[in-house]
Structure formats: structure tokens, C-alpha cells
Subunit: 389 residues, 2 copies
């Protein structure tokens, strides 16, 4: 008899397992033949799926459904929004400079459609929290004769889980006449997100971080008065904001995932308790372990830590062999081995390799035990090898 060892998937910040509601909606949508742009019955049935999902995503963000523009994911949404050409009503508005934080996701840090010389980076402190004084100083030097400032940053960090002071950043941005884009990818479904309360002009969201499928996301506008020049051009889909036939089956799953995580926001205590238990045990097992950003506001599902001398990539492989999926840095930069830009932004040198454990609503106490047992073995082996060396 072949025994298949159970696996513990603790990498929800890279991508979350598909929720049952998303799976059921997608399975049903496999039978929906039409193109949402077709006016016949099959087309209109497809259109209804898209519009239902649009309402569900809007609700999760405190937005109007006509502010939701579907994209192939958060990265496309970011490249669309990070652009100098906007229109406000019938007029053109130019964004002359982009301001992003040093701990942003690569899809913001890359600058989107801006030239590198038109991008400035504001710093974060040792805990990974955005230095709002640094942003304010940058914006005070912005030359408005060339165009408006565009400020883009994240609400919750994908590596540390740090929750940024976006409401304060929004006030600073507005005081300087800036347009404000918030990458809410890791935040929606984990903490309440309200586009108006944040003071954001746009949010960026992703389906696969909240239990929907990969390959679909959206940007959410707080007003239909201000919109970026389309990135993908051709047909008139998404009210002219984004050409190309919609990812119907993906969108069919995104909507229910948004509805489910929206309902679950009040019931995440067990995740925080599990996170706290894991962190306590990590520091008991390895007293020299550092849990990053532990003293600041964080997502309740994310643990980012390092053990002196323990290489994160090697440790990740050892965890994988023990049946536990965790991450060394973020998935989007996996493959390219190197220090985390988030840790570097926090002032850590090349030596620090962070391991990320990210939990989900489906994570069970057994998964936590599985991880801790594998970690204990790893630390013991590391100690033996260090003594032998």
C-alpha cells in the first residue's frame, strides 16, 4: 500500500487554494458558451456572470460596481494604472512622476509605463512601515508644471504582512494634489478595505490571493471621472478601459471568492491565534530567530522570520521535502535567487534570508504542528552540521 504523506500548504500569500464557491461557479461556467460581447442569448448569459462578479468585487472594496475593470491580474492592473496619460471626463490629465515605496511589490516598483527617471522611491523603516515623512518631503519637491504626482503603494506587504498607514498616505497625497493608487492585493479578504475610507483613487486586487483562480484581477476606480489610458487596446470591452475577450471562467470564480472572504472578515481570530502560537514556538525552538515586523500592525496570517546562519532557500527545500509548502521571499521573484528587496528596504544586509509562512482560513492546527515539527528537525540538523563544521 502506497502511503501518501499529507501536505501542509502554508503559502497563501503566493496563491491561495481555490474556495469551494469559486470552484462551483467555475464548473458551472464551463458550460457557458457565449462571448460576453455577443448580443445573442449565449452572449448575454456570459455577460451576466461578468456583471455579477463585478458587483461582488466592488462590494469587497466599498466601491461602485461600474468602477471595477477586470484585468488578467494585479500586475496588468498595476501596469495600466502606473502611467502618465489619464483622462478626466473628456479632458487629458498628465501624471509627470511616480512615487512608490521601497517595500512595494515588483509590479509597482517596476514603475509600470513610467520611464525609470520618472520614478522616485520613498523609504520604509526597520519594521517595513512606510516613512510618511519621506513621502511628504518628496511630494513637496514635486514640480506641478510638468503634471500631477502619482503615488502608488501597498496596503499590506506580501512578505512581512505589514499593514501600511494608507489613510495617512492618502491624506498626504491629496494635500499635494496627487492621484493615489493602492495595491490591496494582500489586504482584501483579510482586513476590511474601503476605497473611500482609504482615500484612494484606485485599488488593485487579485483573484488568486483570496481563493479565486489565477490569471484574473481588477483595478477599482473610485470615480469614473478619472481613468488611465488603456494598456491593452483593440475591442471596446470593459467600457473601453481594457480590450480583449474577458476571462469568463476566471471571473466566474473571482466573484464568489470575493463574496466568501468578505463574509469571513469577522471570523479570523483562529488564524491570528495560530499565527501567534507558531511564532512563539519558532522563538522557543530557535531562540536566535528574528520574526520581522512583529511589533507593528500586520496581517493575521503572515509570519516572516529568519534564523541566523540558516539559508532560506535551503530551508524552503527542506520544508518541502517534509511536506510543508512555505516560501523564501515572494513567489513572483522565485527562481531568481537573491536577498528579498523588502528585507533590504528594512535595512537588512545580504545575509538575512527570510522564510514566509502564510496561513489561510483552511489552515488547521495539524498544519501548524506539521510546520513546527519540520522546523524543529531543521534547526536540530542545522545545529549538528554547525558543530561538525
Amino acid at each position: 500500500m502506497l502511503m501518501v504523506a499529507p501536505r501542509s500548504y502554508l503559502d497563501h500569500n503566493a496563491t491561495a487554494p481555490l474556495l469551494n464557491d469559486a470552484r462551483e461557479a467555475m464548473t458551472a461556467a464551463l458550460n457557458c458558451t457565449g462571448n460576453p460581447s455577443s448580443v445573442h442569448s449565449e452572449g448575454r448569459a456570459a455577460r451576466r456572470i461578468v456583471e455579477q462578479a463585478r458587483r461582488e468585487i466592488a462590494k469587497l472594496c466599498g466601491a461602485q460596481s461600474d468602477g471595477v475593470v477586470f484585468t488578467s491580474g494585479a500586475t496588468e492592473a498595476a501596469t495600466t494604472l502606473l502611467c502618465s496619460k489619464y483622462r478626466a471626463g473628456r479632458g487629458a490629465v498628465r501624471m509627470s512622476h511616480l512615487y512608490v515605496s521601497a517595500a512595494d511589490h515588483p509590479c509597482l516598483l517596476s514603475g509600470g509605463r513610467f520611464d525609470p527617471e520618472s520614478v522616485s522611491v520613498f523609504s520604509v523603516d526597520g519594521d517595513g512601515v512606510i516613512d510618511t515623512d519621506a513621502l511628504r518631503a518628496l511630494l513637496e519637491n514635486h514640480d506641478k508644471n510638468d503634471g500631477l504626482p502619482l503615488v502608488a503603494t501597498h496596503l499590506a506587504n506580501n512578505e512581512t504582512g505589514v499593514i501600511q498607514p494608507v489613510e495617512e498616505i492618502g491624506r498626504i497625497a491629496k494635500a499635494c494634489g496627487a492621484v493615489f493608487v493602492v495595491d490591496a492585493v494582500q489586504a482584501v479578504g483579510r482586513i476590511p478595505v474601503d476605497i473611500t475610507k482609504i482615500g484612494a483613487d484606485f485599488l488593485i486586487v487579485s483573484s488568486h490571493k483570496i481563493g479565486g483562480p489565477k490569471g484574473v484581477g481588477a483595478f477599482v476606480a473610485n470615480s469614473d471621472l478619472l481613468l488611465p489610458a488603456p494598456l491593452i487596446v483593440g475591442g471596446a470591452q470593459e467600457k473601453g478601459c481594457r480590450a480583449g475577450t474577458e476571462n469568463l471562467i476566471g471571473i466566474a470564480g473571482f466573484g464568489p471568492a470575493a463574496a466568501v472572504v468578505g463574509c469571513g472578515l469577522d471570523n479570523r481570530r483562529h488564524i491570528r491565534d495560530m499565527r501567534d502560537r507558531i511564532e512563539r514556538r519558532i522563538t522557543e525552538i530557535a531562540p536566535d530567530a528574528t520574526v520581522f515586523s512583529r511589533s507593528v500592525a500586520r496581517l493575521d496570517n503572515t509570519i516572516f522570520f529568519a534564523v541566523a546562519g540558516l539559508d532560506a532557500e535551503t530551508a524552503q527545500i527542506a520544508f518541502d521535502l517534509s511536506g510543508v509548502a512555505v516560501s523564501a521571499g515572494s513567489a513572483c521573484s522565485s527562481g531568481k535567487v537573491g536577498p528579498s528587496h523588502v528585507l533590504q528596504a528594512m535595512g537588512h544586509g545580504d545575509e538575512a534570508g527570510g522564510l514566509r509562512v502564510s496561513l489561510g482560513a483552511d489552515t488547521q492546527p495539524e498544519d501548524a504542528d506539521h510546520f513546527l515539527s519540520a522546523f524543529e528537525q531543521l534547526v536540530e540538523r542545522h545545529a549538528r552540521n554547525s558543530r561538525a563544521a
Copy 2:
């Protein structure tokens, strides 16, 4: 007892019903949790699905699998390729001007990332066939001091089904040192397509036109030496050619769809016979009907026709009420009512409204009869109304 009238879906050029192999692969992929960029076991399982599909798409195009770059669809692929900034190996290559045909899909005609003043349009004849002399004349006037010419056009037309002389166009393009992009969206799976035989540098393909899901496509490069500047930027996915987490479930369906239609290329006689039968009956029922492009090489699944005085959009709605899904123009431009740009390019005035009937391998003789019966009723009613008026 509620009787649901059977529907006949004859709009395969807008989007094709999902093939069983695609459905099964997608259903299986719903259980695949990992992010293809993650290095753990779950991530590697997702990666295998992507790479298997990549091989299947390459095979359908006569290309190497490492030439396939997945996108969110043909429109994104076109916007990526229609760009002035390319790299050849480690060097930069500039495309200074884009040449597209008047009968191209809006995703080419829009010019992608080129400014409108850097786009020239070459004509088609009254049958919708590209005027290669017009292209040659344009390219002879191209000023190479500014950069190379980029020629982009379609292999098979989405409205008329006309198969363009792409091999000749490829020779003309190469003789002028142009880079050649071929929109093969409506051609792959319906006629043999070989990127090298065509002489194309790039092909554009779409999943949902061949029985895969909507929201996934690819561009296929004939060499990894020449590549466009990425459109979507951020992470290092798709070898740095296209950032963003892959549409795993979509790609999982795209691959098997490509494999199935590739195997079916020799077995399309029944589609052509059905097409011919429908066209004969159309002209018997309405002797003043025009079947466009009937005398030139066409896809065997596409009928594009008009009846004098019969408004295409009204007729489409009547067909829909009779249980038959056909199209008035292409789906991507549905919603905006107006004359087909393809018919206009063929020299037809605003009065001509084309109806498109597009068949698939799943189309049954009963579907053809269903369409013809509805058409007969429509023509009779139209004649009565004309007499009464």
C-alpha cells in the same frame, strides 16, 4: 412540463464551445493549488501544467515551445508585439512604422503601442484579399534610417473567413527587412499553420477560438533572438517577457484544445460540405443574397452574407429568438452598432450589413436545418413587411 427549445450555436468565430479535453484538464487543474513560480512541490505541479500546454501550442504552430509566451488573449499578444522597442539578443532594435491591413482585427488596426501617425494601412480588394502590391508600395517608401518596418496582418479573416496570402506577404516583408507578425487567431485549428513556412517572426493565437477557455492566448516567436519590450511589467514570469502570475486553469485548457484541433485538421470535410449546403440554400431562399468572398480561398467554417434591405442587427435578434446564435459583425465590436470595417474595406457602403454564420466540428446537420428554417421565416416576414409598407 417546461419544454426548452434546443439552441443552435453558430458563432464559433466569436468564441467556440469548450472541448471536452479542455474541460477535463481544467477540472483537474482546479485542484492544483500552487503558483507556477513557487519552487515547492505544489508550485512545480502547476509549472508542469504550464509547460505541457506550451509544448502543445508550439506544436500547433510548427514552433519551438520556448517561443511560446502566454498572455491573457490575442489582444494582449497583439498590443505586446505592435511596439517600437524590440531587443535582438542583447541589443536594442527599433521598429519605426507599423503596416496593417484594412481588414485586420481591431487589436491590430488599433496600432498597439504605436502612435497613430506611425501606422499605415494597406488595402484589401473587393473580396477582402490583401492587395500585396499596395503593401509593397508602402514598404518601398519606408525610411529605414528611423528604424525597421513592422508588418502585421491576419491569416484568416474573422468576418469573411478569407485566407490571406501570408507566404507572399512574408516574402515581401522580408525583402524589405521588415519584422512580420501574423494574427493566426481564426486560422489555427482550422487550416495547417506553420510559422516557418509562413515566414512569420511572430504568430498570435487565442485559446477560446479553438475550444479552449476565454482569457488566455499567446504570442509565438520563431526565434528567441528577437523579442518585444514587455507590455506588462513586474515579476520575471515567462522568461521576463510577460509579468504576472499565469492563468493556470486557462492555460490547462488551452493546451489540450490545441492538441485536439491539431489532430482534427484532416477531418474537416463535413464542415465544408455543410457550409456549402447552407450557402446554396441561402441563395435559393433569398436570390438577392450576397455571400461575401465566395470565390476566394476561405475557411471552411465561415459564411458571411447580406440580404439587400435586411438589417443585420435586427436579423441577428430574430435568429436569437428562433434559437440560433449568429453574429452581425464580430463580437469584439458588438454593442457599438455600425457598419463592419471589413465590409467597408472591401468597398461596401454603409448600407451593407453582414451576417456571420460560423460552424464548428460539433455543428450538426440539425443545426444547419435550424438556421435555414429560421432564415426562411425571416425572409418571408421581411418580404411581407416590405409589401405592406
